[in-house]
């Protein structure tokens, strides 16, 4: 049984989002045909929302709600999955200049996983930093599909994945309700907990999936013969 999760989303716990978690779940429920998600991962900016409890919402909507973080490093923005007390004690997530290599290595040692997100984005993506400095070691996966990308950014991410052989995830990077689930990650295995998610990201089979609506083709003009 496969599992489809949006691995990158922001709720109102992030300072630049006004999206309530319940509204996300309700939106997905109403659009299951277009976005067949099993759950979402909340990756709040520069923090880990440790005390949030979404179990009642999970039961109400039959969807998984996991918690992670989006941090800012000297190699751009990165998602941290499997955040625990050891990790939050070691790193100040509010620091916007966290040392990427150290975070990747130490988070892995403490049971989590760091996934650089929107690598094709200027200034805060891995690609631009790789042009100036050596590539990072021990990167397992990067976000190849980001729902908030501008033209060309996901293509740059794809080129990076091809060049370095990274594994690839997808996430909406949603800050508003209607964008939740437009990009996601399909896992071959069943994922029900954050520990299972970290395990699958490290060793399982998965791929980025794109549920963004396609623009309808413009009908060809039919020449009208002059009477």
């Amino acid at each position: 049984m496969s599992t489809i999760l949006d691995l990158h989303s922001h709720s109102e716990a992030s300072e630049d989002s006004r999206a309530p978690v319940e509204a996300y779940l309700n939106w997905i429920k109403l659009r299951r045909q277009e976005r067949p998600l099993d759950g979402i991962v909340l990756t709040e900016h520069r923090q880990f929302n440790r005390h949030a409890d979404y179990r009642a919402l999970e039961d109400k909507y039959g969807m998984l709600v996991l918690r992670a973080s989006e941090i800012e490093t000297d190699y751009g923005h990165m998602l941290v999955f499997g955040v625990n007390d050891d990790i939050t004690r070691r790193f100040d997530f509010a620091d916007v200049r966290l040392p990427a290599q150290q975070v990747i290595d130490e988070v892995a040692a403490m049971g989590g996983l760091v996934v650089p997100c929107h690598p094709g984005r200027s200034n805060v993506g891995l690609c631009e930093h790789y042009e100036k400095r050596p590539a990072l070691d021990n990167v397992v996966a990067v976000e190849i599909l980001n729902g908030g990308s501008r033209k060309g950014e996901n293509e740059r991410s794809a080129a990076l994945v091809a060049k370095f052989g990274y594994r690839a995830t997808g996430g909406s990077d949603s800050h508003m309700v209607s964008l939740i689930g437009v990009c996601a990650t399909r896992f071959e295995a069943e994922v029900g907990t954050i520990e299972e998610l970290v395990h699958e990201l490290k060793t399982g089979e998965y791929e980025a999936v794109d549920f963004r609506p396609r623009p309808s083709p413009i009908p060809r003009a039919i020449p009208v013969e002059a009477k």
Binding site: E15, H45, R46, E72, H77, V96, R121, N123
Partner: protein, 147 residues
């Protein structure tokens, strides 16, 4: 650009306005300007039968009150330029005709983030609206971006 500031400024009230009376005329004009037709705000008889038993203002009336003249002088600045990055309003208590509203403001938060265009520093100023009974009416968080 590393953000450096005196942490003592966080939470310190720097601006308190004189009380401003809420009049029926001001509320009526506000409703007319916005196309608000709910009689609870303008019709005394309807308001008496309503949830508060008297005329009140629409919640968004809270944003019509102005900060003090020197408000902007107290907003900490970082970098060379900036802009208004939006407002969040939390409505807590109704505003009634005859209320005397006061605004007090303090620096709520200063934080950094990075984006496509580089590093940014955000300053959040919280203005709290209170009435003559000491009740909190609303919180308005003004967000300013600097870089």
């Amino acid at each position: 650009m590393a953000v450096e500031y005196d942490p003592a400024i966080i939470g310190k009230v720097f601006d308190v306005t004189d009380p401003v009376p809420v009049t029926a005329v001001a509320v009526r004009d506000y409703c007319e300007a916005l196309g608000e037709t709910n009689p609870l705000f303008t019709d005394e008889q309807a308001a008496r039968k309503g949830p508060h038993g008297r005329l009140c203002a629409p919640p968004s009336f809270a944003v019509t009150f102005r900060n003090g003249r020197h408000f902007y002088q107290h907003v900490p600045r970082f970098g060379r330029s900036g802009f208004d990055a939006g407002k969040d309003v939390e409505f807590i208590h109704p505003i009634f005709i005859g209320d005397q509203i006061t605004l007090s403001s303090h620096v709520k938060e200063i934080y950094e983030k990075t984006g496509r265009s580089g590093s940014m520093v955000f300053v959040v100023i919280r203005s709290t609206l209170g009435n003559q009974l000491g009740e909190t009416i609303a919180h308005i968080d003004h967000r300013f971006m600097h870089r």
